[in-house]
Every structure is written in C-alpha cells, then in structure tokens.
C-alpha cells in the first residue's frame, strides 16, 4: 500500500461566520497526481494553505511527510509550491532570484538555469521579475517551485494565466516529472478536462467537505456505473418523462442533455424506452452513451449526490 504524504483529518476553518472547511478529510498518496476539484469557495485554497502551513485550522490536524506543516518548516525542503498568483521581490532578475532560491535550499546554482529551460524562460533570464507578463510569471512560479527538486509539488490553479499551448506543455511536464522523478502532485484547478489528462486520483470538495476522493478509476466505477448519458435538443421535457420511469433512480440535466442512473440490469430497458419517449414529447435524441467518460461528469454527479450513492 502506498504511503500517504499528506494526511488531513477533520480540518475545520471559519473566516468569521463563513465556514471554509467543515471536517475535511484528505489523503494524498506517494507518487500520485491528485487533483482537488470543486466550485469556487469550496475550500480548495484554504485546504492548500493549511497543508503548506500558511493557515492554522480551527480544529483537526494535518500531517505532511508525517509532520505538522505549521511547526516544521524543514519539510519545505521536500515540498514545492506554486501559488495561483506568484509573488516575488519585484526588482530582482529572474535568474538571480532563482540562484538565491538555490542557495536558500542548498542546491547547486546551475539548477536555476536548468528549471528556466524547463519552463521555456531561459531567454528572459536577465529580466526583472516585475517585467514578466502574467503567463511568464506563472511559468517562473513553476520554475521556483521545482528548483529544489521537491518530492511533492502543491499547486493552486497553476495553469490559470497560461495560454493553451503553455498549459498543454505544462501538463506534459507534470506527467514527465511524475514519471522520471517520482514527484507527487497535489493540483487544484477549475479546468477539469486538463486535470483529467494528468491526474490519477481526485478529491471532490464542496462546502468545505470532501464528497468523494480516491483513485480515479475506482471513483468512475462507483459513481458512473448504471449511468446513461442522453444527448437531446430538449433535455427539460425529456428529463421529466424519464424520471417517471419506475427503474430510473436519478436524473440530472444540463443544456446539452440528461444523465440518468438506473436500477441494476435496467440499462438496456432505458436504451429501448428512450426513443419512444422522446418521440412522444417531441424531443430529438442525438445519442445515448453508457457510463460517464469525463471528469466533469464525475464531478457533477458527485456534487449532485452530495457524495453519496
């Protein structure tokens, strides 16, 4: 069984009357790429800040590499951090600052240029940090997070300011680092399709609680079995009639279609019934698929069900 690098139990955090975390539990296993996903205000950033020792939880405890991050800054030699917005001394030149970070962590200064090359910033090495564009600054933040060869990289919305090509390159880099250097990643992002490209585990957070977490394949099995996706031009009307079927347990709809969960063994029955029902209510069926292929769909299902089956 893989070792847990991050173990959070019963984390609660309030900002005045606002509850950011409500008894949140989380485990990140060694050599995994875990994604924290959830709507705005779900508690992702608060969770990350507690994991990094920037915030103290009101209750509960967190262990990173077996230690409390608030009291043990030494573990930061093992952790790389990429914040949503990168903040550095504005007047320092990027290579000079990375060399300083090398000296902070006691790694050879050559590593500074190496990580700049890794994020395609080597040509801007003599620019002051304040002269970088938002995307370049984000890349610099990633280089900064990787410079000391961390075992764990915690990144909050690390692709936020990047163009599609840079995002794609960065995700390739994540996969490469994961494979070659066995770096464990904890990523948070709103862009679910790109997360699904790289992650092998997810924690779905809503209202400060983890609704579901674990291996992605297992979660798909758990939440998307006996689920059919029906694409239609009139999801509202079709959803109403499908919900009236006795073997349909749950129906969710969005602008493009319907997701229906059926009783065990009833998938074929729904396949058969949908065309006639659609004809009856004047809806056009564009397609029926078994299971739910996207992380977005999984996320929607988990949040809709509040984590339960």
């Amino acid at each position: 069984m893989a070792k847990s690098l991050i173990e959070a139990k019963g984390l609660s955090k309030n900002y005045g009357k606002v509850t950011a975390l409500n008894a949140l539990d989380l485990q990140v296993e060694e050599s995994s790429i875990m994604s924290l996903i959830g709507p705005n205000g779900a508690g992702k950033t608060t969770t990350i800040k507690i994991i990094l020792g920037l915030l103290r939880p009101d209750s509960g405890e967190v262990r990173v590499f077996g230690q409390c991050p608030w009291d043990n800054p030494d573990i930061r030699t093992l952790i790389g951090v990429v914040h949503e917005k990168a903040y550095f001394p504005a007047h320092e030149k990027i290579l000079d600052y990375l060399k300083r970070v090398c000296r902070i962590f006691g790694v050879p200064e050559d590593r500074a240029l190496e990580v700049l090359k890794l994020v395609n910033l080597e040509e801007a090495y003599d620019r002051p940090i304040k002269a970088l564009s938002a995307g370049m600054l984000q890349k610099f933040g990633i280089a900064h997070g990787l410079v000391h060869r961390p075992q764990l990289l915690v990144a909050d919305e690390m692709t936020a300011n990047l163009d599609p090509q840079a995002r794609s390159n960065l995700l390739d880099l994540v996969v490469e680092l994961h494979k070659s250097e066995k770096v464990t990643f904890l990523l948070s992002s709103h862009i679910l399709p790109e997360l699904s490209r790289v992650c092998d585990a997810v924690a779905i957070i809503s209202y400060g609680k983890v609704l579901a977490s674990g291996n992605l394949v297992e979660l798909y099995d758990k939440f998307t079995a006996r689920v059919l996706r029906i694409s239609t031009d009139n999801p509202e009307t079709l959803a109403q009639v499908i919900l009236n079927l006795s073997y349909v347990q749950e129906v969710n709809r969005d602008s493009r279609g319907i997701t229906a969960k059926v009783a065990e063994g009833a998938e074929r029955k729904l396949y058969g019934d949908v065309p006639s029902l659609a004809k009856k209510v004047g809806a056009k069926v564009l397609g029926i698929e078994s299971g739910s292929a996207s992380l977005e769909e999984l996320y929607r299902l988990v949040v809709t069900r509040g984590g339960g089956q």
Binding site: K49, L52, G53, L54, L55, R56, F65, G66, Q67, N72, P73, D74, I75, R76, T77, L78, I79, V81, H83, K85, A86, Y87, F88, P89, H91, E92, R100, V101, R103, I104, F105, G106, V107, H144, G145
Partner: protein, 271 residues
Amino acid sequence: MANKKFKGKPFLEIFASSLQEDYRFPLLEFFAFLYALGTFVLANISVVPEEQSVYGLVSSLMGLPVIIFMILVFKNIAYGLGGDLEKGTIQTLFSYPLKRYAIFLAKLLSAVGAALLVLFGIQMFALVVLAPAMILPYISTVMTTYLASLSYPLLLASVILLFTLIVRKGGLAIVIGIVMFFAGTIFQSLATFVSLGIRSPLLLQILSVVNPSVAMQYHYHNLSVPAENLGTETIWAPTSTEVLTYMGTAYLLVFAVLLLSYYFFSRRMNL
C-alpha cells in the same frame, strides 16, 4: 524526514534579499551622512569639552539624523514588510525552510537593525574621528544621549510594525507613525506648559516613560520657574539614576511591543 544534509542558507539569503529591497535607493542615508559630517566639523571647533556641552551638542545634532532614521525605518517596515504582506510575497518566503521567527528576525534586522547601524555608524564615525578630544572622555554621556533619543523612534517603529502586521496595510501604518511622532512632540510642549502652570512634573514623568530623552533634557537643564524671592523654584530635576530608570522602562516597552509583534507574526498570523 527533511534532508539532514541541508546546506542551504535561508536566513542569510532572506536577510540579503530584504536589504536589497529596503536600501535600493540609499538617498536618505546619503543625506544623513552629509549632515553628520558637516555638523561635526563645525562641532569640533565650537564646543567646550564638558559633560553638559557634550550632551547639548549630541542631542541637538541628532535631531535631523534621527528624523531621517525614523522615516527610513517607517518606510522599511511599512513598504518592506507591509508590501510583502499586501502583495503576498510573504507567502513565497513561507515556502522556504525557515521558522517564522527567523523570517521575522531577518525582516526586522534589515528594516531597523541596518538603519540603526547606518545612523550609529555615520554619527560615531563623525564624533570619534572628527572630535575625539571632546567625545572620548564623555563617551558614556554620548551613548546615553543616543539611547535616550532613540527609544521613542524605536517604540514608534515597533508600534508601526505591530500595526502593519495586524492591518496589513503599510501606507496606513506609516501615517499612524508620523501622526504619533508629531503628537508626541505636541504632547511634550503641552506637558511642559502644564507642569510649569501646576508646578508638578507628573505629566513630564509620564511622558518620560515612553520618551526618556525628556527626563534627560531636564537632568541637564532643570525645569524651574521664577520664585517669589527672586530666585528660582525647581520643579523637576531628575537624577541620572532616574533617567536610567526611565530609559530602562522605555526600552522594556519597545521590547514588549516587539515581542507582541513577534508572537503575532510567528504564532497567530494566518496568510
């Protein structure tokens, strides 16, 4: 769990980075240097070497450099540490393997320690090199005058530091500091006026707890009013022991506020 062969120098590097940010344009330090040099050249040829004169010289010559020092320290705290808090650079510092108190110390040493060293360095250089015959026999008077004059700016700097940490708005903190400095000056004038009127040094004694240079001033120049028999009635003439007690209390106060700031920064402050 962390690397036992850790060879990094996080404290020194964060200190160096802070120095680089705080003293990027050493304009104020340059003016303080010129002022110190100029005035002590004049001092060398015009002052009789005796304790009271040395006190008078040092305290009057400290006026502008202390204000420069104060502006420098306020700026360093408000825009250095305050800027780090406002912009979020402090989060980056907290990703380095360094305890919070060490980050606090590095920032404080850069903002206040280095400025103090600059002020002391310039003035001591000017005093000892340009007027050794006058200064060296009265070095304890010189040092006491310095310590008494610096405690109030240091107290204000500590209050600004605490305020900056709590409200995380450097600009507001610097305004509060300047207002407090001028309020102190106005309060001293009022306290002197009232003390003369009611013939009691109580207000000045209270003020001396936070600003012992007031007590020092009246140690060398007694506070007195004309008496009915054409003589003078002394209202307050603190002894050197009293002055030292006020000074000790003032520095304790500075230490207490710094300790409170440290506690807040290292144990309470969420980012």
